[in-house]
């Protein structure tokens, strides 16, 4: 008995000291519960706490203000000791450009929380953070998140920003929003008893309404629509609510005006939030990977958003996307990799369309949460019975507002109630941490595939002309090329630069197609400063480029070769002019 107690005591001691027994996870200096959703103030506080707890590797800054004047908080995570964050490839991750897509914010917060706590404790994450940077913007639409929490909403509102828009063209803005007639904080549905109504109420469970088939007799109920009254007396209910622009239609790639693309805003980047992000991205051309979180559906999406923009996704770039997305599908059960316009719907002017098509960045947008995860056994869509099992026995009724009778000013006695704003789209809180972790892990994988360059081989030989021939192989050990083929085709961003110093020593430079290639594609001008328009391809597409420099110099003289790319950390090597062994 005593032995058992002693050994368990020792085990406990060891556990406390993080000693010989491996910890399953690393503690963070910042305590955050991942089974709840946070308001704008709480999100800000968490970011501040993380920045304060890990000052050596974080920087918190506001990149601008929302329409209503709230800060857009960005957390930069990088190790300044291994270089400025702008000199390394960076991953940009944002969330909740649609404010109702709540869990996007938590996933990005979790990303910040995990990266900071793992740095210095976990080898792969430490190495990743030493060679790359993270730009994390958990909440791009703070105004509407505040509205979602503080005013009655549905799972689908407030998606847009708060800019007043005259939806019904009557000269007034937002004069007829939804109304929370039963005061439960959610906008649910209104039902009216109606002998000619095409809906019937379930005889056993009065919460269930079902549509009646057209050839069957009337069901006795009519569905009036979302909760609300005719605030402006124009005969319509809830036709002109608050705001606004759909900020995920406000980006400049393939932007089309609101009469084609609902919610697009008056012009691309009309919203201060999208402008702020744009300006940051233009200032940070080192961003080589983007993830923009949304809900819902369980998808790993890439562009294009419209069939007539397929030209922006050449075959070689699609191969890179597919490679990363395929791994993502494995890491994220119930998520499928899809192309926005082909598999989802048409989107003109979305964020990832801009980052991929205008900026040449390999970008994904994940739609978080899939209802298939309710029971994880029954395919994608649980039936009505399973839905109620979930609501009643897993959520204990917290997702459904029982019907109450309300006296409606124009419809008379109506029933108000139904699934509330937590009932769909939003990841159930007890499953939130897993959702966060899996998506976080996918973005770590995506970030890990940003370009990583090295001088794989260099060799020096004497050319019969008396010059030295330096043959160099620059390799990229990761899937993402330093320039996408699309970027190269359209002249996006700066070409890679291959420089040799001293410049005066370099007499000629040529590209080779392989290490043993005898044919040389000569660079006609400035051989000491070669512009490599094609960049270094990703590993699965060859992953290497080969150059030969013909240099004049004395035996034993040293020259310096430097290869720099916007989306990779520069590499540099000193080469001695002597025959390689």
């Amino acid at each position: 008995m005593k032995n058992a107690i002693r050994s368990s005591f020792v085990a406990g001691l060891l556990l406390l000291c993080g000693g010989a027994i491996a910890q399953p996870d690393m503690p963070s200096k910042v305590s955050v519960a991942w089974n709840q959703y946070y308001s704008y103030d709480q999100v800000t506080a968490i970011m501040r706490d993380i920045a304060k707890a890990y000052p050596e590797i974080t920087e918190l800054r506001s990149i601008g203000k929302s329409l209503d004047g709230r800060d857009l908080w960005l957390l930069i995570i990088s190790n300044p000791k291994t270089g400025n964050h702008k000199d390394k490839p960076a991953m940009w991750i944002d969330g909740s450009i649609h404010a109702n897509e709540l869990q996007a914010t938590e996933v990005v917060l979790y990303t910040a929380w995990y990266l900071t706590k793992a740095y210095g404790q976990n080898k792969p994450i430490t190495e990743l953070l030493d060679r790359s940077s993270f730009y994390l913007l958990p909440l791009m639409n703070p105004d509407s998140r505040v509205a979602w929490f503080e005013t009655p909403s549905t799972p689908h509102s407030q998606r847009q920003n708060t800019r007043p828009i005259d939806d019904d063209r009557d000269g007034r803005n937002g004069e007829d929003p939804d109304d929370d007639l039963d005061g439960d904080g959610s906008i649910t549905m209104m039902w009216k008893e109606d002998p000619n109504g095409r809906w019937e109420r379930d005889k056993v469970d009065p919460r269930i309404f079902r549509r009646v088939a057209p050839d069957k007799p009337a069901g006795g109920w009519t569905m009036l629509g979302e909760e609300g009254i005719d605030n402006d007396g124009d005969g319509r209910i809830n036709e002109d609510g608050p705001g606004g622009d759909d900020m995920n239609r406000n980006w400049a790639a393939g932007w089309l005006p609101p009469y084609v693309q609902f919610g697009a805003g008056s012009y691309p980047f009309s919203a201060p939030e999208t402008r702020a992000v744009r300006d940051f991205l233009l200032d940070h051309p080192n961003v080589a990977a983007v993830q923009s979180y949304h809900n819902t559906g369980g998808m790993i999406l890439r562009g294009p958003g419209a069939p007539f923009r397929e030209w922006a996704y050449p075959r070689e770039d699609v191969a890179v996307y597919d490679r990363i997305a395929t791994v993502g599908e494995k890491m994220l059960p119930y998520y499928r990799s899809m192309v926005i316009h082909k598999d989802l719907y048409t989107v003109h002017g979305g964020l990832v369309n801009y980052t991929a098509e205008s900026l040449g960045i390999f970008s994904f947008t994940n739609e978080l949460w899939s209802v298939g995860k309710y029971f994880q056994r029954d395919g994608q869509n649980p039936n009505e019975e399973m839905q109620w099992l979930w609501r009643d026995k897993m959520a204990f009724g917290q997702l459904f507002k029982d019907y109450t009778e309300v006296e409606h000013p124009t419809h008379g006695r109506v029933l108000v109630g139904g699934p509330n704003k937590w009932s769909s789209r939003v990841t159930p809180t007890f499953m939130l941490e897993e959702e966060c972790h899996r998506n976080f892990a996918f973005t770590v994988y995506h970030a890990d595939e940003m370009p990583l360059l090295s001088f794989a081989r260099t060799s020096v030989s004497r050319d019969p002309s008396g010059l030295w021939a330096i043959t160099v192989q620059v390799s990229n050990d990761r899937a993402i090329p330093t320039r996408s083929v699309h970027a190269r085709n359209k002249g996006i961003g700066r070409a890679d630069l291959f420089t040799v110093e001293p410049a005066s020593a370099v007499k000629a430079a040529a590209q080779l197609s392989s290490w043993i290639d005898r044919g040389m594609d000569f660079v006609l001008h400035e051989p000491a400063r070669v512009r490599v328009e094609s960049g270094v391809p990703g590993k699965s597409q060859g992953g290497s480029i080969f150059y030969r420099f013909l240099v004049e110099g004395a035996q034993g003289q040293k020259v310096r070769l430097t290869y720099s790319a916007e989306k990779a950390a520069a590499i540099s090597v000193e080469v001695t002019l002597e025959e390689s062994k």
């Binding site: 400049a252 009469y259 012009y267 691309p268 003109h348 070409a495 630069l497």
Partner: protein, 589 residues
């Protein structure tokens, strides 16, 4: 606020056009001294100049009661100085007699959207064919900025073109053109059918300053065929924005001037039509109707249903100005196409200046009388050629009439130099030594020459276009004729109808305006409790109410006491709300 100094650059010896500098701010201030004028600021340029505009309207008794307005914009392209001058001239006229000119409307004038560009154009001793916002950028994305602008290789004061005959293999140039045998000076692609082969490489005048093998690829002032840098304001608007094109900017409305102008249009109520002076034309040649972009919904030209309106305005414009033909310029990315296709306003763009052969004879510029010719000789009559008295006439060799557009321009440049004392418009190809290319020939159209006009021309332009603006003012929609009636349906139950008639020529919204949904057509609101309206609600609206007597009928069935009065408020984007009161009493029983 920096003033653009009146740098009257008279370049003596050299081809750069006399630039009698426009002191833009001084002229705007002078116009603003009129009581009928308010000055507003749209934007601040990158170099700190303000983009300013003028709001002109009658005051006192004749002050407009409604916000209906016309917007006149010029100077998106700094080379189009005539546009700036004409817009200023029109503003001056309207400001002096707004009651006379504006027909009770408001006129917004933005005489120069691109003050940085204008200042650059006027201050350069060496003129390049550059009208953009002169912002520094890495145009060729090689990590350097402005490292290789154009150069005046032959020292003639202008940047034109260079042609290199049979360029050497190591020059990096490829022959693409031939010189037209019949029209000397005109360069064109080879006619394979005639067995022609390209002989000349043609590029902008300059040297390879940075030794990278490319000529003039990065630097403000780049001319034709070079990257040039800067932002072309008429490539920087969102409609069919030509992404990735040199000069289009990194995204639409990147230039603060463009953004400011767009924001001004969006927030200014009452604008019913837009007039643009610049290198785009939508009024001499009406844009093609019914052609859409890849989405199938945004017109590349105009909507089918706007064709009639555009043709009517075009006819009137051509009548007033005498223009028959005008180069279109491409509309993608332009302010004019954004104002139309995205913002939904009828927009009439014109280049103002064309060749005489592109105008009606009676409107062609007349050559001033030559010395030694008596007045009344008829020397001032005819199509621009001074008639000499018989004894002075020397037999002139008959030159073949030019066939190509370029050839016609070269001929016109010669004619106007001879007859009007105009500055040379074309630099003849002349051999010169080039540090890298050996022997080259420099020549080509003098920057700005195609839009040059004499002082007399400027006066004529102002008159004709002021008349056009005045004409447009008179055509704006006028949905202010409102009549109401009531008909008894039963006790305390009435059918109330309001008819709004648009007596103006233009519809309340054009087809594109109705599609774009940015401004209200006609909205009628019945002033009763909503519960008293039996069908629908209290608001009725119609986007398009046709001009010249088109009507909109708003009908309600309402519960109201017999003999009571109900009010209906009617408003439109160009009209302040008006209220009509209807007595619920049957008429004529």
């Amino acid at each position: 606020m920096r003033r653009i100094m009146a740098a009257a650059v008279m370049w003596t010896g050299g081809y750069a056009l006399a630039q009698g500098g426009i002191d833009l701010d001084a002229r705007i201030d002078a116009i603003a001294a009129n009581g009928s004028v308010e000055v507003f600021t749209l934007a601040k340029s990158a170099q700190g100049r303000l983009v300013r505009g003028l709001k002109i309207a009658a005051t006192g008794e004749g002050a407009p009661k409604d916000p209906a307005a016309i917007l006149l914009v010029a100077g998106t392209d700094a080379r189009h100085v005539m546009g700036v001058r004409t817009a200023l001239g029109i503003a001056e006229r309207a400001a002096k007699e707004p009651g006379n000119w504006l027909n009770g409307r408001t006129l917004y004038v933005v005489p120069c959207v691109n003050p940085d560009g204008l200042a650059w154009w006027e201050s350069q001793k060496v003129n390049a064919d550059f009208g953009r916002v002169p912002s520094s950028m890495d145009a060729d994305r090689d990590g350097r900025m402005d490292e290789d602008p154009c150069d005046d290789v032959n020292g003639d004061g202008v940047i034109t073109l260079m042609r290199v005959k049979n360029p050497s293999p190591l020059s990096g140039l490829t022959a693409t053109m031939v010189e037209d045998a019949e029209e000397p000076g005109v360069m064109r692609g080879p006619d394979g059918g005639k067995g022609e082969q390209a002989v000349y490489a043609v590029l902008a005048e300059g040297i390879d300053n940075d030794g990278d093998g490319a000529f003039n690829e990065d630097g403000v002032g780049g001319g034709p065929g070079s990257a040039g840098g800067g932002i072309d304001l008429d490539l920087n608007f969102p409609a069919h924005w030509p992404e990735f094109r040199d000069g289009a900017g990194r995204h639409p409305l990147e230039a603060p001037e463009a953004l400011g102008l767009a924001e001004f249009v969006l927030r200014t109520p009452g604008i019913a039509a837009v007039v643009v002076f610049g290198p785009r034309d939508t009024v001499v040649g009406v844009p093609e109707a019914g052609k859409m972009d890849a989405s199938g919904q945004v017109p590349l030209g105009i909507e089918n249903d706007d064709k009639r309106l555009y043709e009517a305005v075009s006819g009137k414009y051509k009548e007033l100005t005498g223009l028959n033909e005008s180069p279109r310029g491409e509309l993608a990315g332009s302010f004019a196409q954004w104002a139309y296709a995205h913002h939904g306003l009828p927009t009439f763009a014109t280049g103002l200046v064309v060749r005489p052969d592109q105008m009606k004879e009676e409107k062609r510029p007349k050559a001033p009388a030559k010395p030694g010719v008596e007045a009344g000789d008829g020397a001032a009559a005819g199509g621009g050629e001074a008639e000499k008295p018989a004894e002075e006439k020397k037999p002139e060799p008959k030159r073949p009439e030019p066939k190509s557009d370029e050839g016609k321009w070269i001929r016109w440049f010669e004619d106007r130099q001879r007859d009007f004392g105009a500055p040379a418009g074309f630099v003849p190809w002349t051999r010169v030594k080039h540090p890298q290319l050996g022997e080259v020939e420099v020549g080509g159209v003098v920057p700005g020459a195609k839009w040059w006009a004499s002082e007399d021309d400027v006066k004529r332009l102002v008159e004709d276009h002021a008349a056009f603006v005045r004409e447009l003012c008179g055509r704006l929609p006028e949905p202010s004729s409102i009549a109401g009636e009531a008909k008894r349906v039963g006790p305390g139950l009435w059918r109330v109808a309001v008819r709004v008639t648009n007596t103006g020529m233009m519809p309340t919204l054009t087809a594109i305006g109705n599609k774009a949904n940015t401004r209200a057509g006609v909205v009628a609101t019945l002033g009763v409790a909503p519960a008293d309206v039996l069908e629908g609600g209290i608001v009725r609206q119609q986007g398009v109410v046709k001009g010249e007597g088109g009507t909109f009928d708003a009908v309600w069935t309402v519960r109201a006491a017999d003999g009571s009065r109900v009010k209906v408020e009617v408003f439109s984007a160009t009209m302040r709300p008006r209220t009509i009161e209807i007595e619920l009493k049957e008429m004529g029983l």
